[in-house]
Symmetry: C2
Subunit: 247 residues, 2 copies
């Protein structure tokens, strides 16, 4: 039987998962889908994603692919997976792609969105999908900070502490804030790649600026410093969504 | 020490609870709050609510009251409860009310909202807060059904099967559908009281009409019949919200 390459478009709620990547003894997105694929295909396959998402982080549209010798057509794989998977993981599409397609290497850019709920009272119905900031934020200044990110930069200041992602240079195509809409601010960043925790470290830092705890000039200085210890707090995972992967 | 009467305005996510009412061996909203009040007040109090909500049903604004001899002021009770309660129950306000105030007996009307997500694909981020209906709904006809509910009626056809709520007569002040907004329909019903499962039975039945599985004339006939066995399916609990209680 011939090898085929199948692309999956996935949506998942990260709250109950220890991130994308399969790990022994932890419930992960990759591990859960691979297990269901094994039940259907009776063949061990290895899922590749556009990139890992951390524990508690969500995806609206994650792209993944796997190679298989099974003849089960993609529409049946989509249907079968959706009947087997828990309700917090959804296969939105499945299709054959050329054997050369690789969900990670071929991604040209990715878009992440970070949701901040900015109102005094907590909202228990949005607590799993946003970061609640009680005090009013100066959104205009936060927008100014973000525009300093656009272009190519060494993002060492915003990488995970102890992170070794290799080359810390990334190109940001877009960095905006949409809203507030129903008290929700959506920080949208598109880049050719992201260092680990980069979005959450950027958001945590601009929130400090928005709260008046940090000067805007300090933000530009942090970016230039390439020193992880200068940035603000890391925003919590439940506000972060992988929105799109572009090929 | 003198007795005081304290009113609590509550919001809760019903997904993890076996409804409002305290029950041995089950985690309920009433039981959880009473337990935290005992920790704070060192006195057993009995919470009264405007009405019970069933397992899995949510509240945006539930009204409750309890009598106590404690001198802890309401603002401190609010703050203390919010620090002790799990994140899916929120005390939005606490205040002294006259001793005669009774959250259930004094309620003049209540407003419930039922959320239907009407799109082909499921939305994993709204699955806990809506009923997903894949096929397009004829919302105009559903609206016509609802307007037949306005006024005073014997709602026996829409009570819970085996329900013994006593008098089945209720007055509906408003019955509307808002939306669709972002694929969400919100069925809003205000009445002087509700029989058990009444909103969910009404919504399940108008959804059958909206799907073309039932004629609109049948809906009026069901209401007139006062026969529980004629109505459609009961809509699932996670789409239902107690929105307001009016005094």
């Amino acid at each position: 039987m011939e090898w085929k390459n199948i692309r999956l478009l996935l949506s998942y709620d990260g709250n109950q998962y220890h991130g994308w990547q399969r790990q022994r003894g932890e419930v992960t997105i990759q591990g859960t889908i691979e297990e269901k694929l094994y039940m259907m295909l009776e063949e061990r396959v290895r899922l590749v994603a556009s990139g890992r998402t951390d524990a508690g982080v969500h995806a609206l549209n994650q792209v993944s692919n796997f190679q298989t010798r099974s003849n089960i057509p993609p529409f049946a794989i989509k249907k079968g997976l959706n009947s087997l998977l828990p309700l917090d993981i959804l296969v939105k599409a499945a299709e054959y792609v050329p054997m050369a397609f690789h969900a990670r290497y071929d991604a040209r850019s990715k878009t992440y969105e970070y949701r901040i709920l900015n109102k005094e009272e907590p909202d228990i119905f949005r607590r799993h999908y946003s970061w609640h900031i009680r005090s009013p934020l100066d959104v205009a200044t936060m927008r100014d900070c973000l525009s300093a990110l656009v272009g190519g930069h060494d993002f060492s200041s915003f990488r995970s502490s102890g992170g070794k992602d290799g080359d810390p240079f990334r190109s940001v195509m877009e960095a905006k804030i949409h809203g507030p809409d129903d008290d929700l601010l959506r920080v949208v960043i598109e880049a050719d790649g992201f260092l680990r925790h980069m979005v959450r470290n950027v958001v945590g830092t601009i929130v400090e600026v928005g709260l008046g705890k940090m000067e805007m000039s300090k933000f530009a200085e942090i970016l230039r410093s390439r020193d992880r210890k200068m940035a603000g707090v890391k925003a919590p995972p439940q506000g972060l969504f992988l929105v799109n992967v572009n090929y």
